[in-house]
Symmetry: D2
Subunit: 341 residues, 4 copies
């Protein structure tokens, strides 16, 4: 069946897999201390224009969110997120499991609004009861968001400024970062993100790797004994090479960006096709996730020939669904979809 | 200074203290195994018309909420509460510290709306992604609420029905329960609560005791090894007698209800006085907490002669404040306030 | 029945209770901000010769241990304790519940041996795998220990030196501190403890109070937002006065020391009596807990007339039991025991 | 440099990698719901003669230990392990991080002694204070142990019997299980383990996979909502295929056992070589980990040509080191070592 269900349906990009095959029988030290990891770290820091950054590799997104947030917060602190944020809803309470509250702000198209953030913090610091409340100490944003939308450079700059003012850390979830960076409608670069955020990660799982997320602490702010923390959370891979080799391949000759650009190209063709066919968009997304509104009858019919994600019930007769492209989507997939829609 | 600040400004009701004095030199076994605790348990079960109930004494409200919720939920489960619920905001993340998410619903005058609860649960069980979400397993309500309002018997019955249908436990925070039971505008009795809830507590701290909350598990549903759980949370008092003696006194000859009725009588006089003086109420509260809207100038002036709680900024020139009566409020206090307002 | 079971069988010392009665109807602010708390803090700091100390009041021992240890350790750190330490065995896993490992050393008569501690730390820092291990960051000792024994000033000094060298914090559990300070065989003063430890507490529950432990951070090292941490753990008493008034009474005119001295006097009489009657001591304890070895027949017989604690089975025919004196033990109790033994 | 350092120095066995390459571009559903995972599950259940078993794939050993233990214990329960157990020492407190205490027993050659276990449980249930203690609810053993030793079938049977009697769960960590099953000195089969244990896992990381551990719940005892629990712990791989494909390959045509047998063959050659050269063994290990005692001078010399693990300082002039073989060790490695020793 034709699949637009998500961006992790295929294995690894062939060039990434090829590097795993080539390096397979080399004997390497464990836990991320091998030279593929080192090489990948250097290439990532160069790509981020962040020579003083500190790079760690973790396995998946929820794990990365939980490890970073719990490692950077004190017990009495919480993390601010949009109410649609992945950590707010779809991580089975992974953040709370580490003892920390997710403090939610109403989203606008999946994004935190700088003004709302500022008001929240002003109110908190004016509240006489704040000693009985969770101290906000970090802002979590995702780029692209769970709705495929993007923060502009201006929005990121404002959020970063507010974070500095109130001494919060800014953490950017980049599980789909490539698809944001290669969007035709973004003015945000990897260097901008490294400059504005305290910590962020570059997603591998959804952009060409079998697994893996590259975490960058941007300002000599790696939590003390972070390797031990990773181990304690069950997140330390014995064969760290699995992550190092893949990220080394992804950041050689711009492969990561090339893959991402391809997915965006496919998404643009998908959008054009959907528009042409008269579908209604739920919102305007400039990245690889597209949300449309379907009549339930139409939904049933399409479901027989193409897979996509149920997003939410809009009303009794309409449903929001999500179609996703990725590095593995082909022109043939789009063509085939054209005949189905 | 005249105080309407909260319901824990004074020590214990003299009759309660008297019992502590009289029993002081008796040598008693520890950890809640003494006969004052046993006697208090029997009297409370009788008052609740809940002969099969199981009663435990804990020290304070936040502790009680955290111990009960964490003891009754599995790791992957969360508790539903109004977004104004005490556990949602003013307990410094105590529930999350035990690893559980507080799932919030928008409140109406501090209350959960049965229809909203039902929709939340319907949506959850229709969501294909629910395995990646926190399972709702308990509903937390407070009676009276943080806004002084009360659930009607009909509302409680509906909430209880929804809980049964979706296999959630119903937990009622009764930190101020006496003031709810003695309200002139309630149709809810202690027996109703024991019948409708899986677990609830009768607050002592705010109703005449130095400290202490009496937890009632209503249907042979006490968590296994609950005493050990209490110990593990640092909530087991060596001299359990301190709680047993106080609750035994409070539930002898209806003292608990008498104290509560007095506070309600004082609250009614306070309301009448505030109305007479033309103050604007923020909402209609039938219990011992009254919320009024003050111009900021007026607020400054009053603050010099009487203490009350800042609640929230309404706009640039108005503020919501809370005035509270308790068992220790006197007619003279009201009279004195009359001269100040 | 005659009781030598533990040091929390009676209520509060009459002078302590008297102060609760006298202050009962004063209207006071909550959460430890009242002037009784302030007064008690000043008196305690004076008694400790620790003018820059910071004093907090908590309710019970397990709670205090869990709050302090979890507040002062990073996630990846653990606390070293004797394998007989209260936190190692008899707190139902309260420390682990906060996420931290208790790293145990073999005890000698309930005490950590400085040399063993030093070796443990040397080994840890020489271990290539230490990044996969829990970092030792605190030493927990109790004075008196769970066996009634006492660290000498020399031992405490050595342990403190080792802690400084390896950057560990030294935490002293003083649940029975008075009985240690007033022992006839100690050279350790309250000022010594304040000077050598980073944090310690003065037990109230077992020395004349209804409840309460006074925590002293000795070197401007109170954890940031400690009040919020206390609240988050469910350990913040609304009517903080209950603790403030009691400690204010205990530290007025040396009452705390006087009560403790009395218990020691009773313990010395108990020891003399036991020796006179030919009982075998399990170990030599200079404080209020005395451990003797009983033949099982004798144990059965005595149990009918006097209560004491089972400690451990020594062999098939002998048992170790504990007899405890306290501020509430009377000369008559000793006399009565004489006729029974 | 010649490596006998550990059993995770190489990538995946070529046949395993080959299957990853072949299946790479197939579009598969996520989170372990693909047919490679299903196929692997069936093959594993067949290999275990455990048709009613329930199989899950996790990424690494520490993660697996923490997820299983925390999922199967109630809050107030702990897990018993040898004091040399991996969870006791080398997992950075991962179990404690989930809130549970590791209750240690003294080991004999890395193993729990059935008699010691029985005594521990007898003592616990005779202890009047057990309500203030952590309830033992699971026994953790590793096969092979951290010292390369093996439980006999008789020992496993006894431990299982004791577990049944005291209602404990028996959990076997099989991170190196293949090397135990293929030992020339074992009488334990995979079917025995499935029959005796409540839950165990078959290690992939150390036996031919890039990563992955296969967990088997043996008696319809999978924790409720276990997938959600895995997600909550950050342990759910989006591309579950990575694990499914590898285990499917490992359990096709007995590859897992063949690889393991090869490592054992290499270990036997290594042992013979070491004996021949007159080295002193620290203990007798029938599996792929060999422990020898080296004079420190010899240690320095060897370290220049071959890598192995420091284990512990024996005395001032001698050190225990570990040499490990694996599926990737070759006869040439042994030959080359011969010239060095």
């Amino acid at each position: 069946m034709l699949s637009f269900e998500n961006d992790y349906v295929a294995g690894a990009h062939p060039q990434v897999l090829q590097r795993l095959v080539e390096s397979n029988l080399e004997l390497l030290s464990g836990y991320g201390s091998d030279y593929y990891c080192d090489s990948a770290r250097e290439k990532i820091k160069a790509a981020c224009a962040c020579p003083d950054g500190d790079v760690y590799f973790l396995v998946g997104g929820t794990q990365t969110n939980a490890v970073i947030i719990s490692a950077m917060l004190h017990d009495y602190e919480g993390v601010i997120a949009a109410d649609t944020g992945h950590i707010s809803i779809h991580e089975a309470g992974a953040i709370e499991y580490t003892g920390h509250k997710v403090l939610t702000l109403s989203h606008e198209q999946g994004k935190i609004v700088p003004k709302h953030l500022e008001k929240y913090l002003q109110d908190f610091y004016q509240d006489d009861n704040r000693e009985h409340m969770v101290y906000p100490a970090m802002v979590y944003i995702s780029q692209p968001t769970e709705y495929g939308t993007l923060y502009t450079k201006e929005e990121l700059t404002q959020i970063a400024r507010i974070c500095r003012q109130y001494e919060l850390q800014l953490f950017l979830d980049g599980a789909r970062l490539g698809y944001g960076l290669m969007s035709r409608q973004t003015d945000v670069t990897l260097a901008d993100i490294a400059k504005l955020c305290d910590v962020f990660y570059i997603g591998g799982t959804k952009v060409g790797a079998l697994c893996g997320e590259a975490v960058i602490f941007t300002r000599n702010n790696t939590p003390k004994h972070f390797l031990t923390i990773i181990k304690q959370r069950g997140a330390l891979l014995a064969k760290g090479r699995l992550l190092g080799v893949q990220f080394d391949a992804l950041f050689t000759d711009g492969l990561y960006f090339e893959l991402s650009r391809h997915a965006i190209e496919m998404a643009e063709q998908l959008k054009a096709l959907l528009k042409e066919k008269g579908y209604t968009f739920y919102l305007e997304s400039p990245t690889n996730q597209q949300f449309i509104i379907l009549e339930n009858d139409k939904l049933s019919m399409l479901s027989k020939q193409v897979t996509f994600s149920f997003w939410e019930k809009l009303d009794d007769t309409h449903t929001v669904v999500r179609l996703v492209t990725s590095w593995s989507t082909t022109k043939e997939d789009i063509l085939q979809l054209k005949h189905i829609l």
